[in-house]
């Protein structure tokens, strides 16, 4: 149970959107009018964002471990808790979620021409599900919210999407559902192993389940990793499993696309970091080269596809596939300073902002001209200068121009990959990924060239736009954007610049020996022997640190993650492990590991 009121603000953050969503369903006739529903939604989502800012103000930024956490007994019979908490990673994702919501609500006024109430109902539900996933510290609650994001998105695409919406909704649901049920199987397996070790006591508390990792044989870990990857790699999406994404993005309404790219995709890497890597560290290290290879192939392959797209939205969708590959290589770099993983988390935020902005821009074009075909559009700079400014800014942020947010994340993931120890990832991966950067510059600037510069051409303004738009007669009013549209894009643009200039804002809550990233990667990194000489060059860049062995020990004991000291104990049998003798703090752990070594033969 919570000790103080401060801990209750997180569930409030979760239930506020649900409350607002059901507020929309109240039998108030006024809510049937689209403007009223839209205004209501804009206000409520802004309130949610304010709430998350308040949460952030309560967050202890100097020590970004798991905090503000509390556990409510939910279903003691099944070991289920309603337990939540925030650390340096999840607080940022919650902030991103609540930040993007008012933005997409603002941007959805014209596109959604029917049933505004239902649209915003599902949007709020989606927000709640996403927040629930990010704050959960119980794996069942995590999974429940993770899975439930499918339903609102399914309806957003199916009810409000474009021509091919049914196929898109179906493919999206089916792909991701299939993946995540396999994840469920993996989670149940881990929980069962916990119950075996702890005399039949079942729990689904994530932190407690971390302690199972050291009792798992390598084969078991591989299966668990495979099961988790089935869910999270599809969601990310990683190269061979990405095919649902372009379809879903293209057919979804703008708000759906922004939420999908900006938030739902982030569930994949987040799940990998939060669940898969700590629960199956051996397998994570062993799988890293293959995952890195797939990610690199994905980066290049999707970039090449982008090059030949004539549909602007599809181009941005494929660029998401390419960009999320950087998250994967960063996450599985396992470099000694956690640069890769920190960079991956930062890159997730940046990608959410920049790609979200691009989708909104393209949505605005579609509102006006009802086309996204690059052959029919061009030279918009003269007619819509302000629009062009924002568009180019988001493009440059996506490309990774230094000074804008995309650059830092991209750079850090590649640096991490480059410094990755032998046998995991390495310079070769970084070089291939760097080709992806070049390619992304090519196709994104190619897109800009077609759309913004060159001969001006575009179809007439659509009837819908003229009827619904707030400035009726003169579409080129205010340099091509209405005040509402400026209010939509400006916050994103500001954040792109802010994160580009002060990446430390985010990084300081991720990095550090006792930071959340180090804690989550700890068990996996304990398996790798780092060559101290290789690190020498980095020590110039980043402040000197104690060697990883001590660092880990300190980190685990000082962070109130509740991470058992046992977790650091090493299984001497494993091939990837250093030959340091296992020292167990209390003897119980060694008894367990002995027992499991025996049992390993079965």
């Amino acid at each position: 149970m919570p000790d103080n009121i401060a801990q209750l603000i997180i569930p409030l953050q979760l239930f506020l959107p649900v409350l607002f969503a059901f507020g929309l369903l109240l039998p108030i006739p006024a809510l049937k009018r689209r403007r009223v529903a839209w205004g209501y939604s804009a206000v409520t989502s802004s309130l949610s964002f304010g709430m998350s800012l308040f949460v952030a103000s309560q967050f202890d930024w100097s020590n970004p471990g798991l905090q503000l956490q509390a556990e409510f007994v939910w279903m003691p019979a099944m070991g289920l808790e309603f337990s939540y908490g925030l650390d340096g990673i999840s607080i940022w994702l919650v902030l991103l979620t609540t930040f993007l919501m008012p933005v997409v609500v603002l941007g959805s006024l014209i596109e959604v021409d029917h049933d505004m109430r239902t649209f915003h109902f599902w949007l709020h539900i989606l927000e709640a599900a996403l927040i629930g996933t990010f704050i959960a510290t119980d794996v069942m609650m995590f999974y429940a919210c993770f899975e439930f994001t499918l339903i609102p998105l399914f309806f957003l695409i199916g009810l409000f999407g474009h021509a091919n919406k049914l196929k898109a909704a179906m493919t999206f649901f089916y792909y991701t559902f299939t993946g995540s049920v396999l994840t469920m199987a993996g989670v149940i397996y881990v929980a069962w192993r916990y119950s075996q070790i702890h005399d039949g006591e079942w729990t689904f508390n994530i932190v407690k389940l971390y302690s199972v990792a050291e009792h798992l044989s390598f084969t078991e870990q591989c299966w668990i990793m495979g099961a988790m990857l089935a869910g999270f790699a599809v969601k990310t999406p990683m190269f061979p499993f990405h095919t649902w994404l372009p379809l879903a993005h293209t057919e979804a309404p703008t708000a759906g696309s922004v939420d999908l790219a900006g938030l739902v995709l982030k569930l994949g890497p987040y799940g990998l970091l939060r669940l898969a890597i700590p629960m199956a560290p051996d397998a994570a290290v062993a799988f890293a080269p293959y995952l890195g290879a797939f990610a690199c192939v994905g980066i290049v392959y999707a970039a090449l596809i982008c090059w030949v797209q004539s549909d602007a939205k599809k181009l941005v969708a494929y660029s998401s596939v390419s960009h999320m590959g950087f998250c994967i290589i960063g996450l599985f770099a396992f470099d000694s300073e956690n640069i890769g993983a920190s960079g991956a988390m930062l890159y997730m935020l940046s990608h959410g902002l920049a790609t979200g902005g691009l989708f909104l821009c393209i949505g605005m074009l579609y509102d006006r001209f009802e086309t996204r075909d690059l052959r029919k559009l061009g030279g918009l700079a003269t007619e819509m200068p302000l629009f062009s400014f924002f568009f180019v800014l988001f493009i440059l942020a996506s490309v990774g121009l230094p000074g804008l947010n995309g650059f830092v994340g991209e750079f850090l993931t590649m640096l991490g990959t480059f410094n990755s120890p032998d046998g995991v990832l390495g310079p070769a991966f970084a070089i291939v990924a760097a080709t992806g950067v070049v390619l992304s510059a090519i196709y994104l600037l190619f897109l800009t060239g077609k759309l913004i510069w060159g001969q001006e051409k575009h179809p007439g303004y659509s009837r819908k736009y003229n009827i619904i738009a707030e400035h009726g007669v003169d579409p080129s009013h205010l340099h091509g954007l209405s005040r509402r549209e400026i209010a939509t894009l400006a916050p994103l643009a500001v954040m792109c610049v802010v994160l580009g200039v002060f990446p430390q804002l985010v990084l300081q809550s991720l990095e550090g020996d006792d930071g959340p990233v180090a804690t989550l990667l700890g068990p996996a990194k304990a398996l790798i022997e780092y060559d101290e000489d290789d690190d020498a060059s980095q020590e110039d860049v980043i402040a000197e640190r104690p060697s990883h062995q001590e660092g880990l020990g300190e980190g685990a004991s000082s962070v109130d993650y509740g991470l058992d000291a046992e977790i650091l104990e090493l299984n001497a049998e494993h091939p990837l492990r250093p030959a340091t003798p296992a020292t167990s703090p209390d003897g119980v752990g060694s008894a367990h590991s002995v027992a499991l070594t025996k049992a390993g033969g079965r």
């Binding site: 439930f148 089916y174 027992a595």
Partner: protein, 546 residues
């Protein structure tokens, strides 16, 4: 003699239902129209009184197979969900009479009215399900199972005036008779192998002599025969035709009550040999489970008729439920005893890991979702245009629910909850049930088989999403079906809505008490685990402890 009287004392709920059935006959055929109109109320009242009696009468009898509270749990599950089914079915005879008569004002004809019989048979079948749960003897079990089935044959045939209803009743009857023969033969072999028909003595004989081949053959034949009641492969073939042919509320009844009785009977029969199951029985059940869920799901994907889709879905759900039977009360009392002997201890207070508890939990969870689904279909009727076939206006095709969301958002919402619960989407009852089933099968000491079955469950959940999703897509995104209308049956509508709401609650805070009582009911199930068969890590932990 005293024991018989003592046994009768615990049967008061069933006796009340029987009396209710007779009263329904009396009021349903009464001369006074008022009394006739009262018939469903009489049925509902007798079910309520029976439920009250179940709650009041202390059940302190020691079950011969260790399933102490199972009867209590199942009786409440049958009566509680049965009340919803009754609300769904109320009005079926009246609607039938209206269909038969073109001129509205006709005098009542006792000879052709089914008003009394319908509710009486409804109660009798429910009584059978309750008696199944209380069975302590093979003969009793057989009679109870027949009492479940016999009224349903009549209910199918009489409640819809179409040839297809007659056909499905006949199919159901003959296949039911055949399956009864099969499991009766199985019962006979069990008797032959042990010399007893009552569970207590059979158990004693099995414990003394061990499991002999004849007993195993008997149990396997019983399982195969009971597969008919739960609509599992290889006895599933009737399900689609019968579900399609019966009137929709009756279909909902068929999908729940006989299935509950069947699974309870399976639980009892398997308890005779105890868990871990002997290899042949285990192999049979595993094959049946995997085939049932896979075949059910695959065939459901290719159906064009909603009732057939739900029929195959019901088959597939039986496959999931079989997993709980395979797992058994994995952490039962006897395992606890054995482990204590070796210095280890087991926390057996949590229902998670107990397969029988998972089955008991999943039955109402499945039932509620299915009832909500059939309820929505039952509320709708289709205007068949200029050539109306007044006898068949049921909403059965995908077209008939197309665009339901635009016209009746509330009905569409109920349908959504029902389908999502059947898929197993998180906050709903179906998800909780699948978690319980999955964790019980993974914690059963079956080595690789556990994982194979878990994977089968998971993959089948994914396959099932295809056709449940198709229903949702048609209902929400389809073009508005203008020929579909809503029947003026608020009770039926309410039943579907309440079922959906409970399906929600059963995935939330109702889950704990229900799962806990299901666990209490089955935690002392028959487990015989000689120390050598224990999963190795346990003994290893026990050894390593100082």
């Amino acid at each position: 003699m005293e024991t018989l009287l003592a046994k009768l004392g615990t049967l008061w709920p069933e006796i009340v239902l029987l009396m209710g059935a007779v009263s329904c006959l009396a009021t349903g055929l009464n001369h006074s129209p008022f009394a006739r109109r009262l018939t469903p109320a009489v049925a509902a009242a007798s079910m309520l009184v029976a439920a009250l009696l179940v709650l009041i009468i202390p059940d302190d009898t020691v079950h011969p197979l260790g399933l102490d509270g199972m009867g209590w749990f199942v009786k409440l599950a049958v009566l509680g969900v049965g009340l919803l089914l009754l609300a769904l079915a109320a009005g079926v005879p009246d609607a039938l009479m209206q269909q038969r008569r073109t001129d509205a004002a006709v005098t009542f004809d006792a000879g052709t009215s089914i008003k009394g019989e319908f509710y009486a048979f409804f109660l009798l079948s429910a009584t059978g399900a309750m008696l199944t749960a209380g069975a302590t003897d093979l003969v009793w079990l057989f009679l109870a199972l027949e009492l479940v089935s016999l009224p349903t044959y009549v209910m199918i045939a009489t409640t819809r005036d179409t040839a297809i209803a007659q056909e499905s009743a006949i199919k159901y009857f003959f296949l039911g008779a055949m399956s009864a023969a099969v499991f009766l033969y199985g019962f006979a072999l069990i008797y032959g192998a042990t010399g007893f028909t009552d569970f207590e003595n059979i158990r004693a004989a099995v414990e003394a002599d061990g499991v002999n081949p004849l007993l195993i053959v008997g149990v396997m034949m019983s399982v195969l025969g009971l597969c008919f009641k739960v609509a599992a492969v290889p006895m599933h073939v009737y399900a689609a035709d019968v579900y399609q042919g019966a009137a929709t509320p009756v279909t909902a009844f068929l999908a729940y009550v006989p299935k509950v009785a069947g699974f309870v009977a399976l639980m009892l029969v398997l308890s005779l040999v105890g868990w871990p199951l002997p290899t042949p029985v285990l192999a049979l059940l595993a094959v049946v489970a995997v085939l049932t869920m896979t075949l059910g799901n695959l065939l459901a994907c290719v159906q064009g008729n909603l009732k057939r889709v739900l029929a195959y879905s019901s088959i597939a759900q039986s496959g999931y439920l079989m997993l709980g039977l395979i797992a058994g009360p994995a952490l039962g009392a006897d395992v606890e005893a054995v482990l204590t002997l070796f210095g280890g201890s087991r926390d057996v207070s949590q229902p998670i890991g107990n397969g029988l508890a998972a089955v008991l939990f999943y039955l109402p969870a499945y039932g509620l979702a299915t009832i909500a689904g059939f309820g929505v279909l039952g509320v709708l009727w289709v205007d068949r245009g200029e050539n109306p076939d007044p006898l068949d206006d049921e909403a059965q095709t995908f077209d008939s629910i197309s665009g339901l969301w635009h016209r009746h958002p509330f009905l569409a919402g109920v349908l959504l909850v029902s389908m999502l619960s059947l898929v197993g989407i998180p906050p709903l009852a179906g998800f909780m049930g699948k978690v319980l089933l999955g964790s019980s099968i993974v914690s059963a000491p079956l080595q690789t088989l556990s994982y194979v079955l878990l994977i089968a469950l998971v993959i089948n959940s994914a396959i099932s999403a295809a056709y449940y999703l198709r229903i949702i897509i048609v209902a929400f995104f389809g073009r508005d079906a203008e020929a579909t209308h809503v029947r003026p049956t608020p009770l039926r509508f309410a039943a579907a809505a309440v079922a959906a709401v409970i399906a929600f609650a059963l995935g939330g805070h109702l889950a704990t008490p229900v799962a806990q009582s299901a666990h209490e009911a089955t935690r002392h199930g028959v487990v015989k685990a000689p120390p050598s068969e224990l999963p190795e890590p346990d003994t290893a932990v026990a050894d390593a402890a100082p």
